[in-house]
Symmetry: C2
Subunit: 204 residues, 2 copies
């Protein structure tokens, strides 16, 4: 197996990356294959050589976007052993996401969750899968924290994951709406203080 | 002046109400005038008799949607004199919005904030105006609470308004994504407890 990508693979990758940027700003349904042809400088036929449909391309762009954001979390979590530190690292990533977003249109899962409806079941399903895996990342750390005695025993891991996610995703929206990262900073500070309040005395 | 609406005004109103429902689910940019003609059972020409452009119709549908949601807040705030009770009422409205949404696609401001980008400056501006007025409603109650001594003096009204909004709007998104109002219930419970923590002892 060769480690270098073929020309076709490189073209495909270039289409996916450009589509991820464009669709992140403009939305999946509002972006046409003609838009993407113009943005990539390719013929529409060339796009269809790589993707059977706009939906197939949208899915590939979404998966790429989710992986791009996921890498930030992997980096932040590397070397964090204690559950409470993992939770703080997850929340803290959003500070950097607000200051230096990996995609121009913000969080792909949030965008997809808002945009997708019953007309795009495949896209909706992928957004649910991505959000569920993110919920599990937080829930698992919370559960470990309860088991290890770092977090108070009444902490409900699923509930904590939901509250953290709601607060941060809402702050992504607010920062995007007002073009002002202050909303994310306030949300992160609030959650850090909330996490502190869940830590068993002497385990911070 | 007659209090009954002319046929033209009734038709206009019917278009706006139907457009608000459809665009709330499908998005403003993904909904075409042809879609709205089909949904209202009118000719496209008839839509253009009432609205110069899809953007003009989208703006009218957005204003109507914001007013529809705003009425829930007016009802909840009626008779609430103390600042802390006003804050609790505002947060509590979201429970009923999750259980019985006034629009099928959820919060119009959230949808507009996510969907609108530099391609739709007028829509983005309206979303900012609507969100700012909502922030002021919360911020004003918080400020009154600090002045009256109900809330702790270190409470920052703008920050509190931002945290409440982020948490609730994020929970709207989560409940919509998973078709499960539990996320909204957790968010509301979390914020009610947070508000309790800001109340000066003896003033709850």
């Amino acid at each position: 197996m060769s480690v270098t990508k073929s020309k076709g693979e490189r073209t495909r990758q270039r289409i996916v990356e450009r589509a991820a940027d464009v669709m992140s700003v403009r939305g999946y349904s509002a972006t046409s294959m003609a838009d993407l042809a113009r943005e990539t400088g390719l013929e529409k036929g060339s796009l269809y050589n790589h993707f059977d449909s706009k939906e197939a391309l949208a899915l590939a762009a979404f998966e790429y976007s989710v992986a791009l954001v996921g890498r930030r979390f992997d980096e932040a979590l590397a070397g964090q052993e204690r559950a409470i530190d993992r939770l703080r690292a997850i929340v803290g990533v959003f500070r950097s996401l607000a200051d230096a977003p990996p995609l121009p249109g913000g969080d792909p899962v949030l965008n997809m969750a808002i945009e997708s409806d019953d007309a795009y079941p495949a896209l909706l399903e992928r957004a649910q899968v991505a959000m569920t895996s993110w919920q599990k990342l937080i829930g698992k750390a919370a559960k470990e924290g309860v088991v290890s005695g770092e977090l108070r025993p009444e902490v409900n891991p699923r509930e904590l994951a939901s509250i953290i996610t709601s607060t941060l995703e809402g702050a992504v929206m607010m920062s995007k709406l007002f073009r002002d990262p202050i909303h994310m900073r306030w949300a992160v500070d609030h959650l850090m203080a909330y996490l502190d309040s869940l830590v068993v005395a002497g385990r911070a």
